[in-house]
Amino acid sequence: MFATLDQIFVLFKQWLVGLLPAGLQPVAGVLLCVVVIIGLFPGLFALTVLLERKGLARIQNRIGPNRAGPFGLLQPIADAIKSLTKEDIVPLSADGTVHFLAPLVLVVAVFMGFAVLPMGRNMVLVDMDASLLFFFAVGASTELSVFMAGWSSRNKYSLLGAMRAVAQMISYEVPLLMSSVAVVMMTGSLSLVKIVEAQNHYTWGLPHWYIFTPWGFAGFVMFAIAATAETNRSPFDLPEGESELVAGYFTEYSGFKFALFFLGEYLGMFSISGLGTTLFLGGWSAPFAFLGWVPSWIWFFGKLMLSICVFIWVRGTLPRLRQDQLMNFAWKFVLPMTLLNLFVAGLWRFLGDGWQRWVVCSAILVLAYVIVGRVEMRRQHVGPRSYRYAE
């Protein structure tokens, strides 16, 4: 019963594909999965936008959207109709072709990342040998679309936003990759399916997720920071800081193209959360051995939504960084820590089982955190802010 429920989508797909002639079956199977991914995540996007607006409103002591439908639940539909019916304005001096292509490139590149995420037991579209590499490769091509959008708009705010976005994404891509490399080192595989399987073991009913090891915890924190920056979310939302740059690289976009950018941003958040879940939080595996009967896809999407909630929480809590703070943080703190984490992961592997490796690895990481943090903070002159022109 529970095994069937666990595999219900896989069985349903097999049944549906089985209705077709044998020659068409492989193509139809892939197409069906693609359609499900393309349908599911925008649906989740609508839900998340509502959740974010409501949650942010709660954090900021407001009410939030409450007019469309009961408790404002129909707000996403209203938003969708609004963005579909708005006029699509292209600035006269804009570069038409590139301006048109930029949102498409973004959404296509972001959707491709979902192809390799294992969303449940046997629920992955492409199980390839180098799926993590694939994920980062398609993720890297979103930078180009951001640049295309900013440059083709012929607007100084757009261009500034694009430059900021690209600089930020390149800077934080290094720690993002480096923190994932530790996981690859421990698993010995770039395949996301194998990474999840390696974490799906239990000792005393507790899971072997990578986050429950010193290097895994440090790696997860670095990964979360880099992922927040990579998706241009607050507190790293400088590229679209509305108080400075109107809307950053998509200032000159309206109507459905604007909606596509918005969609691309949230889909990027989903895919990077899915990757973080897969790498550090055990993917689709249950948090306790006795909960193993719950379908695996519930765990994956539960963890995904949990990380989305953390994203929203962080957005409502932290103020935006300055550009120099952003770069200093990336290159002087996060990158050295991820490099050290690689070393610690190697140490963990070769110290063998036992309590010693817990002590040694944790001590190294905590010491490094304290020392690097102290040295960095001493250079900062924390105190009352002085204004050059405002006083």
Binding site: D95, V98, M128, D129, A130, L133, F134, F136, A137, V138, A140, S141, E143, L144, F147, M148, W151, L159, M163, V166, I170, E173, G188, S189, L190
Partner: protein
């Protein structure tokens, strides 16, 4: 070979020629990206996953960005009125054609010389590449790493402002 190969090859060649023929420098850089992507897909079609993804990651994710940054930071992306083509394009074309014909001749001559044995394509996984890089080829890898680090430090020193008054 087959239809996908010809489609991808056509796309790559189109992207490459657009990169040299278009007038706007940023358009050229974006067209070059299409050529990079086409090459990556060609690698993937040959089952070379690592080469294909590394091509996307490095060339589209970093080199293309570097190119557009360089264009934007050095001079305006506005096209000059009198075009971007050199006045001596005929000589350039002749040199390019000569180089191409020599290379093509060399390639065409060398094929019959080799004993042709149709062997099954070796299956090289990313795992194998990693093991080879960390085992047999670790010395070349480290030398390349040192070289790149030296280049990086050199670039920083070249770009660094000479501070007046300090030392």
């Amino acid at each position: 070979m087959n239809i996908p190969f010809y489609l991808i090859a056509a796309l790559t060649v189109l992207g490459g020629s657009a990169a040299v023929l278009l007038k706007n420098t940023v358009h050229c850089a974006l067209a070059l990206t299409i050529a990079f992507a086409g090459l990556a897909v060609l690698f993937l079609q040959l089952d070379a996953q690592f080469a294909g993804f590394a091509q996307i990651l490095v060339y589209i994710g970093a080199v293309a960005i570097l190119v557009v940054f360089a264009i934007l930071l050095t001079r305006g992306s506005e096209t000059p009125k009198d075009g971007v083509f050199s006045h001596t394009w005929l000589a350039g074309l002749a040199v390019a054609a000569a180089v191409f014909s020599v290379l093509g001749w060399a390639v065409l001559q060398s094929v019959p010389g080799l004993p042709y044995t149709p062997a099954a394509a070796p299956i090289v996984t990313v795992n194998d590449i990693g093991k080879a890089l960390m085992g047999r080829y670790v010395l070349p890898l480290e030398i390349v790493a040192v070289l790149l680090t030296a280049a990086l430090i050199g670039a920083v020193i070249v770009a660094m402002h000479e501070k007046e008054g300090t030392k």
